[in-house]
């Protein structure tokens, strides 16, 4: 594994009984990249990200994050990653501020650090005074902003984002994308999944097409478009899947 590689996945297989969710995928994510896993629903994106987030164990193959194996070193991986599930919910009866403060205290031991992280998360959320309201009063977009703030407050070395803008209106989606871009500018690394290929094209430095548990192609968006002689990634995906 090279020093610049944050994620190294090799021949990754995941089976649920007879169902093969991942059929042996391989990819790497380098430091400072936003790597996109693109594919339709049921392609295996969430399963791959859950393995990276130490939630699921691979049936075969391996994944290393910053050199740590997800199978053996989950305890060492969890402090340096941050995971956003596709439909990550919120605690209805806590305010956004309380939730962020609780998470900060889990990630940071000193009170000063956790308070600083909470304030940073409040800034990232951009919710202003509404951050003090209970989260059951939040719209879907506001809840997603709190979750995005939660992901980046701990300054993770790897952010794992499953459909980060799914179901959000244009303003909230734009806000989320800006936060991801800012994080990468500051040296962070992210892996995101999406079936919104146009969004991914603008956000990701490299992408992998995933379909029925297999990676069909991966490269920089521009290189993929040139390879298939198409205008955008959506057309390229149709080309690849159609072959």
């Amino acid at each position: 594994m090279l020093a610049t590689e944050v994620v190294e996945a090799r021949d990754l297989v995941k089976r649920f009984g007879e169902l093969v969710a991942l059929g042996g995928i391989s990819f790497e994510v380098k430091k400072g990249e936003v790597f996109g896993l693109i594919g339709p629903n049921g392609a295996g994106k969430t399963t791959a990200l859950r393995i990276l987030a130490t939630l699921l164990l691979p049936s075969a193959g391996y994944v290393r994050i910053l050199g740590f194996d997800v199978l053996r070193d989950a305890d060492k991986i969890r402090p340096v990653i941050s995971y956003l599930a596709e439909d990550a919910g919120t605690y209805r009866n806590l305010s956004g501020y309380e939730y962020l403060s609780i998470v900060a205290r889990i990630y940071f031991n000193s009170r000063t650090e956790s308070e600083r992280a909470t304030e940073e998360a409040v800034r990232i959320s951009g919710l202003g005074d509404r951050i003090m309201d209970k989260m059951k009063t939040y719209s879907k977009g506001m809840k997603r902003r709190v979750q995005i703030a939660r992901v980046f407050m701990s300054k993770p070395k790897l952010a794992i984002l499953d459909e980060p803008t799914s179901g959000l209106d244009v303003f909230h989606a734009r806000h989320v994308r800006e936060v991801i871009k800012d994080y990468v500018k500051e040296g962070g690394t992210a892996i995101i999944s999406s079936h919104n290929m146009l969004e991914v094209e603008h956000l990701c430095s490299r992408v992998a097409f995933i379909h029925r548990g297999r990676v069909l192609d991966q490269d920089e968006p521009q290189a993929i478009k040139e390879r298939y002689g198409v205008q955008n990634l959506e057309e390229a995906f149709v080309e690849v899947v159609g072959k």
């Binding site: 169902l19 994106k45 791959a48 956003l84 990550a88 605690y91 205290r105 999944s193």
Partner: protein, 441 residues
């Protein structure tokens, strides 16, 4: 520990602010005393109104001076006596009812003569029941009390006539029995029936009932709190935090237990206020009042044993609740599973509460002793009247072993790989394959 505190804080705040939880906690402390107050006021008022004008019809078939005196005695004892002169009993009852009388008293012919000849006289009393309310009960007690009073006065009069130097009470009841009860080594100056009322209410019903409520509340709280995490998809996020799954489990155990104990305290207060209200009801004051102080508290070691077995029972039911919640994709599924699991667990609790453990069939005894929730109940029931039952001492290591097995299984279940796979399989069984495949991404 530093990681545990924010997790517990999250659990407690999220639970206490949930209307389904705080309404459940507050209702007993408000409703139980309120019910007691309403019952007390209603009974008191109806009894006061009725006894102020307590009418009794008198069908005097004797019509002698003696029967006339008897009528005066009844009037002096607070009854309003209406004389009825009709031919038949049916007509007398009809007349009594139309006059608003609560009872009809029939004085037979030869009443005076038989009394004067020291023969026992049969007097018939017909209670006219218009209402079956609890308040009506007191009316007939008042009529009875007046009749007994009059009978006693007649007896005094007859004994005095026989020999003015005789002590009427000594003749009527030659044995003056002073009833006391011995509980363990303490002599309490109260008849055993009053003691049984007290003990049954306090130790056999009240404490086991509170423990039962605590156990069911805990299982429900822990299951709901965990199922909500699944439903709202927060558990998945929680399991990626840099905390051990034991911390997550402990936070849920502590959070649910704190809230459930608060609930139990409020319920107990409500229940005690309810019973306090009941004790002040007319006719109830003497049954139990004051006996709380009479019973010597159980020895301190029994409290220690109770605390240990209670803690184990709490850990057992809470981890059971967490396991149920963790396996449920939503609160509805959790509630369905709760019914299936908690009913067989709780049935032994009722057997302990209302049954005599040692007289139960062996299979039922084994069922009771198999569950850690039974031990604090057995202990609470027995500790006031006898020494600590030996089986409850043996039950401590057994409960501890079983509870730690359940705790271990629950913590294993909180391993995301197992949890997600089990949830996926359960979803498949519920026929939601499409959803699950989509969830797998």
């Amino acid at each position: 520990m530093t990681k545990l505190r924010p997790l517990v804080e999250k659990e407690v705040k999220d639970l206490l602010r949930d209307p389904r939880v705080y309404i459940g906690l507050v209702v007993p402390i408000i409703m139980l005393p309120l019910i007691s107050l309403v019952m007390s006021i209603s009974m008191r008022t109806s009894l006061e109104v009725a006894t102020r004008d307590l009418r009794v019809a008198l069908m005097d078939l004797d019509e002698t001076e003696v029967s006339g005196n008897f009528e005066s005695i009844l009037a002096n004892l607070g009854l309003k006596v209406e004389n009825i002169n009709v031919g038949t009993l049916e007509a007398a009852i009809g007349e009594a009812r139309s006059l608003g009388c609560k009872a009809l008293l029939v004085i037979p012919r030869d009443f005076g003569e038989d009394l004067m000849d020291f023969r026992r006289v049969r007097v018939e009393l017909y209670a006219i029941i218009d209402s079956v309310g609890i308040g009506s009960m007191g009316l007939y007690s008042a009529v009875d009390a007046a009749l007994e009073g009059s009978s006693k006065l007649l007896s005094d009069m007859l004994i005095s006539r026989l020999n003015p130097n005789l002590e009427a009470e000594a003749l009527r009841e030659p044995l003056d029995i002073i009833r006391s009860s011995v509980v363990k080594d303490t002599v309490i100056h109260a008849p055993p029936e009053a003691m049984f009322g007290q003990l049954v209410m306090g130790y056999s019903v009240l404490i086991p009932m509170i423990l039962f409520i605590l156990a069911t509340t805990l299982t429900q709280l822990a299951a709901t709190a965990t199922a909500v995490e699944n439903e709202e998809k927060t558990l998945e996020t929680l399991l990626t935090f840099p905390v051990t799954r034991y911390s997550i489990l402990m936070a849920k155990l502590l959070g649910s237990s704190l809230v459930a104990v608060l609930g139990a305290v409020l319920f107990t207060l409500g229940f005690l206020l309810y019973f306090q209200g009941m004790f002040t009801l007319p006719g109830m004051e003497d049954v139990m009042g004051g006996l709380f102080q009479a019973i010597q508290p159980p020895p301190p070691e029994s409290y220690i044993l109770l605390a240990v077995s209670l803690t184990l029972a709490i850990l057992f039911v809470t981890s059971l609740g967490i396991a149920i919640g963790a396996l449920s994709s939503d609160v509805r599924m959790s509630n369905s599973l709760l019914g299936v699991v908690t009913v067989p667990v709780m049935i032994p609790s009722f057997l302990v509460m209302y049954g005599e453990l040692r007289t139960l069939p062996l299979a039922l005894q084994l069922l009771i002793y198999a569950l850690p929730t039974s031990y604090p109940m057995v202990l609470a029931k027995e500790m006031a009247t006898s020494t600590v039952p030996i089986e409850t001492i043996y039950g401590i290591p057994y409960s501890a072993a079983l509870t730690f097995m359940v705790l271990y299984a629950t913590s294993e279940l909180l391993a995301p790989e197992k949890l997600l796979t089990l949830q996926y399989k359960l979803s498949l069984k519920r026929g939601r394959k499409g959803t699950s495949l989509r969830e797998l991404g």
